[in-house]
């Protein structure tokens, strides 16, 4: 929804939050449901209602628990029956400078100031451990923003008796805790309040009258940043950026001006601005974001521009380059198709409002930020939070190469007599094993973002996956697939629950980048073998329809040879397979 995209008008969102909510809820989007507990150290009501809007806008329908006023610590440490029975999927701890009660004074010794720091920190840590023990779900914790006054002026920053100093040291301790704990995320309000401006952030009227720790006007910014973390934790991040070229990646029009006359590099201010933007885009690659081009140009001109010796990028940085005269919405939907991702996973970045409008109106779901002038590009993309990083796995770092290898595979396909010949030529090897600790993060990530090849679309937190991997009741498998073009990493996951002689497949997903490689057959072979070893004679598979998983609707009967068991009126179907005398189906992948 345009009103909720960065840069947004905070006052408008606050004023219209009721009607915006109504509009979002009636727009027919299918959303995942999540339960979020907000443990507040100050008033949370408007924060929660605006957070709700941003989450709805990104496909998450949240139900909220809110602590009674400022009861965050008591709720966490001593529990309370309402919170306990709420069973949150995520906990957001809304604490601020106001909860710190820094209580320093200039007569303190270093030891005394350190003791204050330790005491404040241990109270927080006690709370996190209690929550982790009880709820085992992701926790988002604010760091602390700087105070609105400085008794000693600048000395506050470097003198141990200064509150600025205390907050800085406390924040470092929070970061150390975060580094050691998976599923614990810091909401950086220290940065946000600085970006917003501390004088504006601390509109004290809102504290004295309503116990808001920040000005009401700042609430949408704060809720937006928080929503970005939540979106990322629940796997709603974008995966790919499609950039226009002329006047987006460089100044000038390469087809008219010639590559040598483009404004890019260090010569002029404008050239430097485009250069920094190119650098920014290029660094997305290391986060596993797929870079593509969508430009109205002759391809040779586009390549000449991208090869500009003063530029920061080169054509090889881009997995796909669509430089042609087709409408841009067509090109974006082609990019989605070729990468096997959904259009809504793409961010389209173009300086031309008319092109933005076409993509926005013709292609539902794609994100089309209003990127403004070249001096705004980085800020607006950055603040939009499309790619908020909450975990960074090995696979993320290699993703661009993987997509490139995929496209190389597609090109070589043309030269083979039969599809099986082609598959054999790929020299595929797979590793299919029960869950291992090193892959837990990647497995969790897959369960939260795979939509298409996913029979049940069950989402799991990292803690749940850890628990399942240790529980005897479950048979778990991950599958890694490599071939001569590269390693795809972990691409498939199965979780089966044992019940007598039956194994029910509660989760089976596969990354779309390895579709049609017979990996699913290799997974079934491994599942049948693992099940048989545990005395199981029957597999039961369930299909739960969603807007996105039609691809596997008839997969159990048509491809895997399961027989029908039952179906209900919501389209949920169950299938069974007798695995006594099971014969391996995969003939093209070497396993383990």
């Amino acid at each position: 929804m345009r009103e909720l995209e960065y840069p947004f008008e905070a006052a408008y969102i606050l004023k219209k939050k009721r009607s915006l909510k109504k509009k979002l809820l009636s727009d027919g989007t299918a959303r995942v449901k999540k339960k979020i507990a907000v443990l507040g150290g100050s008033t949370t009501s408007d924060i929660v209602s605006v957070l709700e809007l941003f989450l709805l806008d990104s496909g998450i329908e949240a139900e909220f628990y809110q602590s009674e006023y400022a009861q965050y610590w008591q709720d966490a440490v001593f529990g309370n029956p309402v919170l306990d029975s709420f069973e949150p999927d995520l906990i957001f701890i809304h604490t601020t400078y106001r909860n710190l009660d820094a209580a320093l004074n200039v007569r303190m010794t270093r030891q005394e100031a350190d003791a204050v720091l330790e005491e404040r920190y241990s109270r927080l840590e006690q709370m996190w451990s209690a929550l982790d023990r009880k709820f085992r779900c992701p926790i988002i914790q604010n760091n602390f923003e700087l105070p609105f006054f400085r008794l000693m002026g600048s000395r506050e920053a470097y003198d141990y008796r200064g509150t600025v100093n205390l907050i800085t040291r406390l924040n470092m301790k929070l970061y150390d805790y975060a580094a050691e704990h998976e599923s614990f995320y810091i909401n950086d309000i220290n940065w946000l309040s600085a970006a917003y401006g501390l004088d504006k952030w601390f509109d004290l009227k809102y504290w004295y009258l309503y116990k808001y720790a920040m000005s009401l006007e700042a609430v949408p910014e704060y809720a937006f940043q928080t929503a970005n973390i939540i979106k990322s934790v629940f796997g709603r991040n974008k995966k790919c950026i499609a950039v226009d070229l002329d006047n987006t990646m460089w100044g000038g029009i390469v087809g008219d001006d010639g590559a040598e006359n483009l404004e890019i590099g260090q010569e002029t201010g404008t050239a430097q601005a485009y250069y920094e933007f190119q650098q920014y885009i290029k660094s997305y690659k290391d986060l596993g974001i797929v870079l593509t081009v969508c430009s109205k140009n002759e391809e040779e001109n586009a390549l000449a521009g991208l090869s500009h010796p003063e530029g920061a990028v080169s054509p090889e940085d881009f997995t796909l380059i669509k430089a042609n005269w087709l409408p841009k919405d067509r090109n974006i939907s082609d990019i989605a198709q070729e990468l096997n991702i959904l259009p809504e996973a793409i961010v389209f970045c173009d300086d031309n409002p008319a092109e933005r409008e076409i993509v926005r109106s013709q292609l539902a779901g794609a994100a089309v930020p209003e990127i403004g002038e070249v001096t705004d590009y980085i800020r607006i993309l950055d603040r939009s939070g499309f790619f908020e990083v909450t975990s960074l796995s090995e696979d993320d770092l290699k993703r661009n190469e993987m997509y490139k290898a995929n496209i190389a595979r597609a090109n070589s396909l043309a030269r083979f007599e039969s599809y099986e010949d082609y598959l054999l030529s790929l020299e595929m090897t797979a590793e299919i094993q029960p869950f291992k600790p090193v892959y837990i993060q990647r497995i969790t990530q897959l369960t939260n973002k795979s939509n298409q090849f996913n029979f049940t679309t069950k989402r799991y937190t990292q803690t749940e996956i850890e628990d399942i991997s240790k529980n005897e009741k479950y048979v778990t498998l991950y599958g890694k697939l490599a071939d001569k073009f590269g390693d795809n990493g972990v691409v498939s996951v199965i979780i089966g629950e044992k019940n007598g002689d039956t194994l029910t497949i509660e989760l089976w997903l596969m990354s779309c980048r390895v579709l049609k490689r017979d990996m699913e057959l290799a997974m079934l072979d491994a599942l049948a073998a693992a099940a048989a070893e545990q005395g199981i004679s029957r597999l039961v598979g369930v299909y739960i329809p969603t807007a996105k998983n039609k691809m596997v609707k008839d997969f159990y009967p048509d491809v895997l040879g399961f027989s029908p068991l039952c179906a209900n009126s919501q389209g949920v179907t169950s299938w069974e397979l007798d695995i006594s005398g099971y014969e391996n189906k995969n003939k093209v992948i070497k396993v383990n």
């Binding site: 006052a11 606050l14 004023k15 219209k16 939050k17 009721r18 009607s19 109504k22 009501s45 408007d46 009227k205 809102y206 004295y208 009258l209 309503y210 808001y212 009401l216 006007e217």
Partner: protein
């Protein structure tokens, strides 16, 4: 700015905040007359009114307002 104009603009702010196009204001309208006007929505409302008339109320003014009539008077005072 005359009172009539202020009432019209206020009415539209109230309608937006409470998402109810049926709201009509008089000088005697108070929180008791509008179902969703609770202490939480009061915050949003005051801030939306400030935004509409490009002015900020002081703390004392916010806590002292008894009904819409007083709000209108305050806005007129400031507009002079």
């Amino acid at each position: 700015m005359n009172a009539k104009e202020i009432y019209e603009r206020l009415e539209s702010v109230f309608q937006d905040v409470f998402d109810d196009s049926g709201i009509r204001l008089t000088g005697f309208t108070t929180a008791d007359d509008i179902e969703d006007w609770d202490s939480i929505e009061h915050i949003t409302l005051i801030s939306a009114v400030e935004d509409e008339f490009k002015m900020r109320f002081s703390m004392g003014e916010v806590s002292g307002m008894k009904n819409v009539g007083e709000m209108v008077n305050l806005i007129m005072e400031r507009g002079k």
